[in-house]
Symmetry: none
Subunit: 412 residues, 2 copies
């Protein structure tokens, strides 16, 4: 397998001010191309340190990818370090300055003088346009190895890598590709998944199956090598089927699908519509449902009824019900779901009410208590959950559980 070495430049990373997410993202992308990352470094905004990392990377790998240090300020010196490493001069490229000027002009802003720095490139290197920002990338070659510098801003780096750098690495794949496919699960813990999968997760198996956890979603990575993508996928297919059989409805999607996306696809397929009435989640479920392009096909409207009055006036929740049962109760969650569904005229209504914390809990109704109701064409269902996390996580988990209930109902 071809090898890559990653260098992240920036004092802010070394000071713990910014986590370096670029290296992990690039490592995943490179692996898919059959290129193994053999090491990564974070170095300060210092010419010698960057040069040293370039030398080290060039010794260890065929391609060295650098992120960061291409900004307009004094301490952005990746350009200078690369020139030093390549032993070439720097030159101002007027056409780059023009491109940066136009980038600002489109936004009705005059280019600041300092941005001119971003038009300076090491002689003999190729500049890589950046559609999303002013930091140009740089592509260079030395002793048959590829050195590519990209901006540190993740969204800019990702687009540049996918659209412009990735293709340059095609020559390196060594006739072998690695295919990574994912299955995404929700509704249980990592150890339960491990128990259900048993030997399948053993190390050094081919294909390899391992798992990562984030935001309550457990992602199973199936990794296989082959001469072609088709060959590697053929190896993965029986593993995927086996996992799907063992985990059943715990698996909600594949690869990078989100729960909101999967629910949206199911709704679109069935020609159904959904609405949501949120209290403690404050708009998060609506946001998740509308993260996906085309969501207007199934999502028409939603309510954030934070106050009791809003629940009464907007969703026709009975004031006496709130008084008797409390705003955080199964009955009010159900009334919110029903009220929203009726008012929006949708097939499905979600109602969520709870105590996200950190304050506001009592012995009977602790922080983390959330009632989640789904009204499915008049058929009402309520789930009571107590999440033991921070405010942010209580809200996030409650929203995920709401979407997961809808998913299971649509699939049943």
């Amino acid at each position: 397998m071809a090898k890559a070495y990653l260098v992240s430049v920036g004092n802010e990373i070394l000071a713990g001010q910014t986590a370096d997410t670029n290296a992990a993202w690039l490592a995943g992308r490179l692996l898919e191309k059959g290129i193994a990352v053999v090491g990564t470094s974070v170095v300060p905004d210092d010419i010698d340190a960057i040069k040293e990392a370039l030398i080290l990377g060039g010794r260890k790998a065929e391609v060295v990818l650098v992120t960061g240090g291409l900004g307009p300020t004094d301490d952005d010196i990746t350009r200078d370090a690369l020139a030093g490493f390549l032993r070439v001069e720097l030159e101002l490229r007027e056409e780059l300055v023009e491109r940066i000027r136009r980038f600002f002009a489109k936004r009705g802003i005059e280019m600041a003088e300092t941005n001119k720095r971003q038009g300076i490139m090491p002689v003999g290197t190729k500049d890589i346009p950046n559609d999303l920002g002013t930091a140009c990338g740089i592509l260079a070659e030395k002793d048959g190895k590829i050195f590519a510098c990209m901006p540190g801003v993740p969204v800019e780096m990702r687009k540049m890598f996918d659209e412009q750098i990735s293709g340059e690495l095609a020559q390196l794949d060594g006739g072998e590709v690695v295919v990574v496919r994912k299955l995404r699960c929700f509704g249980t813990g990592e150890s339960t998944i491990a128990d259900l999968l048993g030997d399948m997760m053993k190390r050094n198996r081919e294909p390899l199956v391992n798992c990562t956890v984030r935001g309550g979603v457990i992602t199973l990575h199936m990794v296989a090598r082959g001469k072609t993508v088709a060959e590697a996928e053929k190896l993965i297919e029986p593993v995927r089927q086996d996992i799907r059989e063992r985990l059943g409805e715990l698996v909600f999607g594949e690869d990078d699908q989100t729960l909101g996306q999967v629910v949206g696809e199911l709704l679109a397929e069935r020609g159904m519509t959904i609405t949501v009435a949120e209290s403690c989640t404050g708009g998060l479920v609506a946001k998740m449902l509308t993260d996906t392009p085309g969501s207007s096909r199934y999502f028409l409207s939603g309510w954030v009824t934070y106050s009791n009055n809003a629940k009464i006036s907007e969703l026709a929740v009975d004031a006496r019900l709130i008084e008797q049962k409390g705003a955080v109760s199964a009955e009010v969650a159900a009334a919110m779901a029903q009220g929203a569904r009726k008012r929006a005229g949708t097939d499905i209504g979600i109602g969520i009410t709870g105590i996200a914390g950190p304050g506001g809990g009592t012995e009977q109704k602790p922080v983390g208590l959330v009632y989640i109701s789904v009204d499915f064409r008049g058929d009402s269902y309520v789930e009571r959950r107590v999440f033991s996390h921070t405010r942010e996580l209580v809200r996030q988990r409650a929203a995920m559980v709401a979407l997961d209930i809808v998913r299971r109902k649509l699939n049943s």
Copy 2:
């Protein structure tokens, strides 16, 4: 300042399956102790690669902190690599095996044979107990430099560092502490901030001022050293004032404050309330406003009116207005803000309508076009923006701009 070098061990990090959060956490902790991280590496589960990183770290710094590779399986070889680096043998410490056995026994589990590996240590090193797991830490010295190995599981590593490693580094702090304070800005780009601050952001200044950008927020970090926290803060104070004067209302908050939080505090101070009617942001502004505990004091309700019908029925937007001007127009944004404010009976109403993309754009109304209206007690304001990003970022930026308009109005 004393220097530290960090090494993270693990194939799963290099495969992009796990982000390395340990390095950033340690960097922040070390900086507070007056120890600067001068570099970090991620290396595979490979004896030579780990040894090479230990050598490099020892050359660059007085302390080298290693995380990961202390587990019970075959590929956990940090112990072996450290022994090789120190040129000493490995020994089985029975008392460690006993400790691990007790760790399992307490949980009613019999220790697996493989866990014995975790009782093996390089001769002459100090083992560091791990209260939360079975991976012991290791403390060693070579040529007057400190080498400490800690488990890779973040919660175990953090506890071990704070309670047992941190104290060992006291000799290095040179009686100096480092204080980091932040100012958070919104509404302009990094280069404009740099221009406004001029020399203040020069490298090697004391206190040091540098900047990070995330989600449109520019964070200025002011870093000062002193014999005490009070002394360092005294050095920061005039810098903070100077920056605030130069940047004016671009600065919205300090340290880890979010825009939603700052707007919330201003509303609470003034005893004012807010509501929001969202189309393209799909609930995100409501979510941001309710991220903060206690937001029910000023946020009562919100609408996600994704369809035209919902805009008409929920917010009393005139159907003819939508027909004449289009749903994405300044007029409809203003009508949404006004309709929401009247219906909720709040002081302020926000209305947002736009084209988040990726589809749905036209020449006159391109993807990224968003109209943001704020109705301030009947006083209507509309801003037209074109964001050039992904769907996710268009939504995120539009929500941020809406909150920022409210912030500026509340401050004016």
